[in-house]
Symmetry: C2
Subunit: 455 residues, 2 copies
């Protein structure tokens, strides 16, 4: 009988040395990206102007099952990895559930989230290719912070387009990025053509992730030696984030445990895709059959109410098109939605897996999410990010169902980050000012109207 | 040859089961507390109206060398402990120093600092005695947050008097405490006699830690079943914080390492006293002779420019008097000082050890502190609390001296916490708005004038 500790840290030697690529085990692959200029499938070379070469290769590589993690990346990983697998003993007791709840905690680094796992990889490959700098966008701020840290570590200049509403509401996120020498610009801005166009149409817009992506891509392709990097959605990002799931699986094996259900919050899919990777491999190869559950906000329900269709990744419609569950690149979530998970689309890999019924999805309302967040904080003494709290909500609901049924399920969920920069939302919750929002079918239709026509 | 990892986590089984009490090994004890009503040494019973009994006993117990940590406390410790011992490989490389730099990182919990170690103990003993609630004060906010977490965990109501300037500048700290159900009151307030008196004298005062202590003590002694708890200075707090040093020493032993110099920031002395405890034991018992260095802000220099004298622990002069290095309870540090380490006095235990030359002290200016903080953040990817950055500054200076001399010293410092709630200060630093302040002798004299006359 293995003694279960509260927190299990693997040693550095036990840390995975390779990422895992789910595409290598998928029966059917995601549909290819389409180059909007030619309306033909994009080739790896088509991506070179936007992404650095190694990352373009990873984006298109559907075959390599395991990808060696370069030593330089492992070296920076070791500053904050392996991350702990934690048994939520106190939460279980509070819920009086027979279920066992584990969570993989990715928030114990200054970026405050799992985003650093891919930021380090992307900054490293860019530096390795001799690039002069990077551009990116950030919404809630975790990705921008993570990339700022990684770029500072590798000595690479960085420009971050930060969604204006976040820029205004989260000045401290900006200050953290500046600590790591990043240039932070509120988006839409007058520094790009697309930004000027959007501002001309609506001078009072508070911005969107899709719009910030457009600006960052434009800036990258128009600046000598610059490339654009993205913190979610992309295949390469899911590859890098597989370290989360790989570590989780090794840690659970050490405890003689295997999850009956794996739960992750889903915005663009980076955390979820990383967390589930080795468990999905078991499913794809017939070794095991855990349930995989994506949790998304009811206010931005791409899996549960979106269309599986080709769409642009950005509002400005300058990126390649991807087949994914999407609300349309013109969809902008309600301003009352707190935190991240605001993206209109979803990882093409996860979209395909969901479409092929390898995973489930649920949508949750934010007042219920914050209720779960506060209970979790009190019992586990970690203040979760609003994004992470979506997974907490679903894990609690699962544990409560186990209480009803008496089932002793093993639940694993991803605690992607901490909420220290989201206290405005917590304040709104405490003071009863938080409201829920579920878009009407008519509102969703407006987003769908922005979907491109594919011949 | 032991392979040195970046981060060493002890297992739960390796975590100390006892705290260590430095007084048991001191050749000469700190002078006793004096009851201002009788001007005689206070007895344990004299403390019962203010502290719960077990804590009053720990406060006065100069003999018990090792104190068993109750299981309930160990259980909550395990949620975030053992904390990692980290080798600052990247910082060493950046400094090009032959020195080895280790730091014990206490910031990976939602309170963001080491304060939780004593908060849990104090909340537990209060609950165990059947008390109805607790009061405390908080300055920078870490202690209030930590105690809110601990009280929430043990189901004990808590009222926090938060220094008004912090209350206004750090609304998010308040929101975190409220997440854990604490009542947070800006101090001075009209809810206490001493608060009303101070407000009457200066309606625009932004408060001080000494004043908030007075209010919290008054509220505790005037509320049925309530007691007061303090997060630093006291002997009991140093006892609880010894877990920091004990874990550090075990971890270093596993690496075949022993520090030549141990460095900690010093406000009231809770982190420093905890970090150095087992190393000071080696010094007191002649087993080893590491240098022990306290680092304090030049703007609040109790060790380096204070007097070793009896003083009140609070501005309202209602607490027992302690013999300590002090700037006088009337001393209020300059408003331009960022973060904590603003207390007028210093732990009586550390004061005695410093007076008897078992340790050294240096004072550092805050612009140099933030310079060190930013370098550390970039290299180690942890954004440090301003308090912790005092120790970083001194550790870097020591490592740079080693570079000059070629000495391969082993340096251990305490990284007490993270700076996520201190971004206003980081912003001021980035924007060149941060100034240094060294009080003049005349200004210090005003504080000394508030020292009590002891017959």
């Amino acid at each position: 009988m293995v003694k279960i500790p509260h927190r299990l840290y693997l040693t550095e030697d036990e840390m995975p040395k390779q990422w895992y690529n789910m595409r290598a085990d998928m029966k059917e692959l995601p549909d290819p990206m389409i180059n909007p200029a030619t309306m033909k499938p994009a080739a790896e070379e088509d991506l070179y102007p936007v992404f650095c070469k190694k990352l373009a290769h990873q984006e298109m590589d559907n075959e390599t099952r395991y990808v060696d993690i370069p030593d330089e990346i492992l070296e920076m990983y070791k500053i904050y990895r392996p991350s702990p697998l934690i048994r939520a003993f106190n939460l279980e007791k509070a819920l009086d559930t027979p279920a066992k709840i584990y969570y993989k905690f990715e928030g114990n680094n200054t970026s405050g989230s799992h985003k650093l796992n891919s930021a380090i990889a992307q900054a490293y490959y860019a530096k390795d290719q001799g690039l002069k700098g990077l551009t990116t966008e950030t919404g809630a701020g975790q990705w921008g912070t993570a990339l700022a840290e990684a770029c500072s570590y590798f000595g690479l200049p960085l420009t971050v387009f930060m969604v204006k509403v976040s820029y205004q509401q989260k000045p401290f996120r900006k200050a953290v990025m500046q600590t790591f020498d990043a240039e932070v610009i509120a988006s839409p801005s007058d520094t790009t053509q697309i930004g000027r166009k959007i501002l001309a149409e609506d001078p009072n817009t508070t911005g969107s992730l899709g719009c910030a992506i457009s600006e960052a891509v434009e800036k990258a392709v128009s600046s000598e030696g610059y490339r654009y990097v993205l913190g979610s959605v992309l295949n390469q990002v899911l590859l890098h984030q597989s370290i989360i799931g790989l570590e989780s699986k090794i840690a659970m094996e050490k405890l003689d445990e295997y999850p009956d259900v794996v739960i992750g919050c889903a915005g663009g899919g980076s955390n979820l895709g990383g967390l589930i990777a080795p468990f999905m491999q078991d499913k794809l190869t017939g070794k095991a059959d855990p349930r995989i559950v994506a949790v998304e906000p009811a206010s931005c329900p791409s899996f549960t109410r979106g269309k599986y269709a080709y769409d642009f990744c950005d509002t400005g419609k300058i990126t390649p098109m991807a087949k994914m569950y999407t609300l349309g690149s013109g969809f902008i979530p309600s301003a009352n939605h707190a935190g991240g998970l605001r993206y209109h689309g979803m990882s093409p890999i996860l979209s395909k897996l969901y479409h092929d019924k390898y995973m489930e999805a649920v949508a949750v309302e934010q007042s219920k999410v914050f209720e779960a967040a506060v209970l979790f904080a009190k019992k586990e003494t970690i203040l979760p990010a609003p994004e992470s709290a979506h997974a907490i909500r679903a894990a609690i609901d699962e544990a409560l169902r186990c209480k009803e049924s008496g089932e002793k399920k093993t639940i694993l969920f991803g605690l992607t980050g901490t909420g220290y920069f989201d206290m405005t939302a917590y304040e709104a919750y405490h003071e009863g000012r938080m409201s829920d929002y579920i878009p009407t079918d008519e509102e969703l239709q407006k987003g769908f109207d922005s979907l491109p026509q594919i011949p």
